[in-house]
């Protein structure tokens, strides 16, 4: 019997306790929610970063799980890779090889060449099927929509095979409604971050978003519906912290402690952390062909990331929009170590910010890092420089850049 609830929250747990539990579960490399689901006979679709139309798995009664690595010691995965590979790939494989995360269908994407090749390594070493969902890298072509709809249909057929049944359009629409609601709630959470950032720290907000990738989205909706009003009621006051945008968390995830360290000096008013869960910006229409609507939303109603190429969305301009939209004073431009797309984009972002005279803090991170003292010192200095050495006259402002480098 598949459980209705995957997250073991005590009845009537308050905001603080709920956040604490979410934080623990998000960091738990034993994946208790996924385990519980499987113990109840449920099947799992594991999708690697960045975006996946989770509605397809949900509609078939499977649990879509976001595969985003984890801070796990790598004993088995190391020998499958060379030296110059980001951590998320290695830890994701480690989680699967050690059966901490058991997945019935693994889907990766050609977001980068390393992730594409992960499908091969996965298929070679794990008995469950693996497949690549190729999102169109030419979304500007008039053929992209038909193509992507076709891909979604093929993925749905594989999901149906795992589920052992067909999925109707009606079921798809029901799931789309659940995910539409979920994105609305996440947008509300981000509105709080933007408008009253003192009410929720970056690491807390992250845990609340990330838990959605580990439980059914209906349950996530209920959780958010219960907690968002409590966040708004929280007793907290604005402090003199700098408003920043954190960029660079689209694939490999920084440790929660790193976000906490940033929160000590800054309000993270917007970010691209787990952007895949918030990829689609507005509701996907429920009338009309569901797969086509989902494909259309991916192409034409979506956010941006370094791994999606779209001539309509120059990424540096999108970043500026994010900074302006959240009224941020500065940006933290980060990239995961060894991440080719992230590191390439970091150059474009920093050049644009330099040109526009927006202060930024540039750095690299790794999911397995544990010490943040160095970061805190550098960040504190950066914040002081911006807050105290920043002339009020816009034209007189010097360029302000801090290269954090290795933390």
């Amino acid at each position: 019997m598949k459980p209705d609830r995957l997250l073991d929250l005590p009845a009537h747990s308050d905001l603080e306790e709920s956040l604490k539990i979410c934080r623990q579960v998000v960091q738990d490399v034993e994946f208790p929610t996924v385990r519980k689901w499987r113990e109840g006979g449920g099947k799992v679709v594991g999708h690697f970063q960045v975006y996946f139309p989770e509605e397809l798995a949900h509609a078939a009664g499977l649990l879509p799980v976001k595969v985003r690595g984890g801070a796990v010691e790598r004993r088995e995965a190391d020998s499958h890779f060379g030296s110059y590979i980001c951590s998320i790939l290695q830890s994701s494989l480690e989680l699967a090889l050690t059966e901490r995360l058991v997945i019935d269908l693994f889907v990766t994407h050609a977001i980068c060449d390393a992730a594409r090749n992960l499908a091969g390594i996965w298929a070679r070493n794990l008995p469950q099927p693996a497949r690549i969902l190729y999102f169109p890298q030419n979304p500007n072509s008039s053929h992209a929509l038909d193509y992507l709809e076709g891909e979604y249909r093929a993925v749905l057929e594989e999901i149906e095979e795992i589920a052992g049944r067909r999925v109707t359009d009606q079921e798809l629409r029901r799931s789309m409604a659940v995910f539409n609601r979920n994105r609305q709630l996440l947008a509300e959470l981000y509105a709080i971050k933007r408008d009253e950032p003192w009410l929720i720290a970056a690491d807390e907000a992250y845990a609340l978003v990330a838990i959605g990738g580990l439980i059914q989205r209906d349950e996530h909706n209920e959780l958010l519906e219960r907690l968002l009003p409590q966040i708004r009621m929280r007793e907290a006051h604005a402090q003199d912290k700098m408003r920043v945008v954190f960029e660079g968390g689209f694939c490999e995830q920084p440790p929660l402690d790193l976000l906490q360290a940033i929160s000590e000096f800054c309000y993270v008013v917007d970010d691209d952390l787990l952007i895949g869960l918030r990829w689609i910006i507005d509701d996907v229409p429920l009338e009309g062909p569901p797969l086509r609507n989902l494909a259309d939303a991916y192409l034409n109603n979506s956010s941006y990331s370094p791994v999606q190429h779209d001539l309509r969305k120059p990424k540096e301009e999108m970043l500026l929009e994010r900074i302006r939209g959240s009224d941020a004073e500065a940006a933290i431009i980060s990239a995961a170590k060894m991440c080719e797309p992230g590191l390439d984009e970091q150059v474009a972002y920093s050049q644009e910010l330099e040109q526009k005279g927006i202060p930024y803090f540039e750095t690299e991170f790794e999911e397995k890092m544990t010490s943040f003292t160095h970061l805190q010192i550098q960040l504190e200095t950066f914040v002081e420089n911006v807050l105290f050495a920043w002339p009020s006259d816009e034209d007189a402002r010097p360029l302000l850049v801090t290269k954090g480098g290795q933390w």
């Binding site: 020998s79 190729y134 093929a154 540096e316 170590k337 080719e340 390439d344």
Partner: protein, 454 residues
Amino acid sequence: MTELKAAASGVHGRGADEGRRLFQEWFADLTSAAERGEKAAYVFVMGSLVELLRCFDFNIVFPEINSLQTAVRKVSDDYLNLAEDHGFSPDVCGYVKADYAVQLRNGDHPMGRIPPPGLSVLTNACSTYVKWAEIWGRMYQDPVFTMDVPGSRVPVPLIGPNGAHTEVADAVRTIGDSARFEADRTYVEGQIRELIGVCEQVSGVSFDIDRCREVLRLTNQMGRAWRALLELNRNSPAPFDAMLEGTIYLGVANALRGTEEGARYFEDLVEEMEARVAAGMGPHGSGGESHRLVFVGVPCYPIFRRFYELFSEWGGTFATSTYTWFASGGLNLDFEYDLDRPIESLAEGVLRGVIEATDSLMFPDRALLQAIDDYDVEGVVYHPVKSCRTVSTGLAASRRVVLEARDVAALYIESDMMDKRVVSEAQLKNRIDAFFEGLQSRKLRKNRSAAAES
């Protein structure tokens, strides 16, 4: 035999000299174009669409070739440092960085001057191509056309978990699935037709299907010669070293595909190699070869000649190299453009080329096991590089499979194809020497047990 040797020495080195000349001419043409203030169409080796670009009189630039030339000419450090001064990480693809520095230096390159892009055309065969072209888009606001070419969706390894062999491997790849393949081909064809519109707009030249047919015919001609060339290396001794000479030939093949000179060059080269085979001459002259090897990955350009010598001094010859497959823009495949349906067929060629390249990067062992048998090699040399995850990610896993499936020795050495800072010649030499010592004792053991049996 002496006569054959004389005949072979008459043509010996012709391919190398002629290749050098053609390359110099090509760069001289680019330099003149840059000096006249002209722009160029930039295109890549995997999923190359150069045939289409030739129909519009563009100057053609292959940025990957320019970048590797900076390393071969031992100046890549200057270029990499300049790019890193502008914010690039030491850990990203060195080709991108070297080219970025070429652009910053107004096209200044050790072989001449490179015109800036007026149009960039790429496929997603390598995801870094996409990031790379975005850089030009920012620098020059040139039109960027990314041809989306989906690869195989379901990766089925030749040897799966627990050593289970998968006989149906080909059937589930896109190549073996006719409905999936046709859908993808149509998708690519649609984009090619869109690209034609972009090319017409940028160049002001109207598309001429007969001209396209002629260019494709010349690529067909070159492809036949290219495959014959690779095939000739199944002889022992192999007439050329696939890692050293193969890479030079690969450069010419990419740069000149779809041209008269390119097609002729490879036909002459085949003639030269046939003469070498007839005379029993290998790349090391007539001394034969002690060890036949296969090379996997991208060569170490900062010490290219020395890298080759580290193997050749032990009598090691690379009979084949995966580089000559995945970076040949599909020339290695048994495929010819159908000149009655040029655009449809070009779409098929691009799709086949990209799928084969990406599949062989994901599962290098599939093609490798075949090559080990076909080329009768005793050792596999893996050379993953820091710069290129496209080529390098799957190699450690492939090594495990190959060693399980065949009685061969394997050497796994990491360095880079651009960045001298991660190339330690002494360390490479130690590992390579130990590898050959191992190969020699394997041979001795085998000979001894064969003698004991008889």
